[in-house]
């Protein structure tokens, strides 16, 4: 079974994405912010990170930048998710090292 780490500070959004990803056959783990994501990500063999942009402590951009410096995490695909549709936000996500950028809430056909 494929493993995904959902990183978002909003409980309700995590709940929504958990249901969605489980219905698509993923085994889901959750983290509330970038610090927790790095702690959970290292040592666990995830196939995908779904990362919110705006989070306390360590936001999505910083998380992905740091992931790309960590050997165990640098090759894991990252899908960044935000309420912002602006091209500048997308650009920042790709510059940080994200592989995909989608607007929140994610829809099944997009995923």
């Amino acid at each position: 079974m494929k493993k995904i780490l959902i990183v978002d500070d909003a409980v309700t959004v995590r709940m929504y994405h958990r249901q969605l990803m489980e219905s698509m056959g993923f085994e889901v783990t959750e983290a509330e912010n970038g610090i927790e994501a790095l702690e959970k990500g290292i040592g666990e063999d995830f196939d995908l990170f779904l990362v919110d942009v705006n989070m306390p402590k360590k936001d999505g951009y910083r998380l992905v930048e740091e992931m790309r410096q960590v050997p165990e995490l640098q090759a894991i695909p990252v899908m960044m998710i935000s309420t912002e549709e602006d091209d500048l936000d997308k650009q920042k996500a790709y510059m940080a090292g994200a592989n995909f950028y989608i607007v929140k809430p994610a829809k099944p056909d997009e995923l």
């Binding site: 500070d9 909003a10 309700t12 709940m15 929504y16 249901q19 705006n54 309420t83 929140k104 809430p105």
Partner: protein, 137 residues
């Protein structure tokens, strides 16, 4: 009740409470960046989560408040008593709508009209700001 809606109501109430706390602290520490960021994040979380439900009036009102806060926290303008009045109105409205969602799982029939009235208040405020900024220049 749908567990996701129940979670949204509880989480949004917590965020409104956190925002209220930020306003109190901002009176003591005007312009504090950390407090402004926390305030922005509270509104941002309510807005983001509200998009999971069919409650566009609530989403639009919170989005408008978030937009103003984004300008304030990036130094584009100062948080004035007029801003705070707008935010408090907005928070009261959102709080009342959360109560409606809890009892009937939907917004009242007049939500769209109330939402539009709130947005017009924001627009009037913006017109004043733009005019003042031009005047200052």
């Amino acid at each position: 009740m749908d567990p996701m809606l129940e979670s949204f109501i509880q989480e949004s109430r917590e965020n409104l409470e956190a925002a209220g706390h930020c306003f109190l602290e901002l009176e003591k520490k005007p312009g504090d960046v950390e407090l402004l960021n926390d305030l922005f994040r509270s509104m941002h979380t309510i807005k983001g989560s509200s998009g999971l439900f069919d409650i566009p009036a609530l989403t639009r009102v919170v989005h408008a408040a978030e937009d103003v806060l984004d300008i304030v926290r990036s130094g584009g303008m100062e948080l004035t008593p007029e801003h705070i009045d707008l935010f408090l109105d907005c928070m009261d409205q959102v709080g009342a709508w959360l109560d409606d969602l809890e009892t009937s799982a939907s917004l009242p029939k007049d939500a769209e009209a109330k939402g539009q009235a709130s947005l017009r208040s924001h627009e009037r405020f913006w017109d004043i700001q733009v005019h003042q900024n031009r005047f200052d220049l």
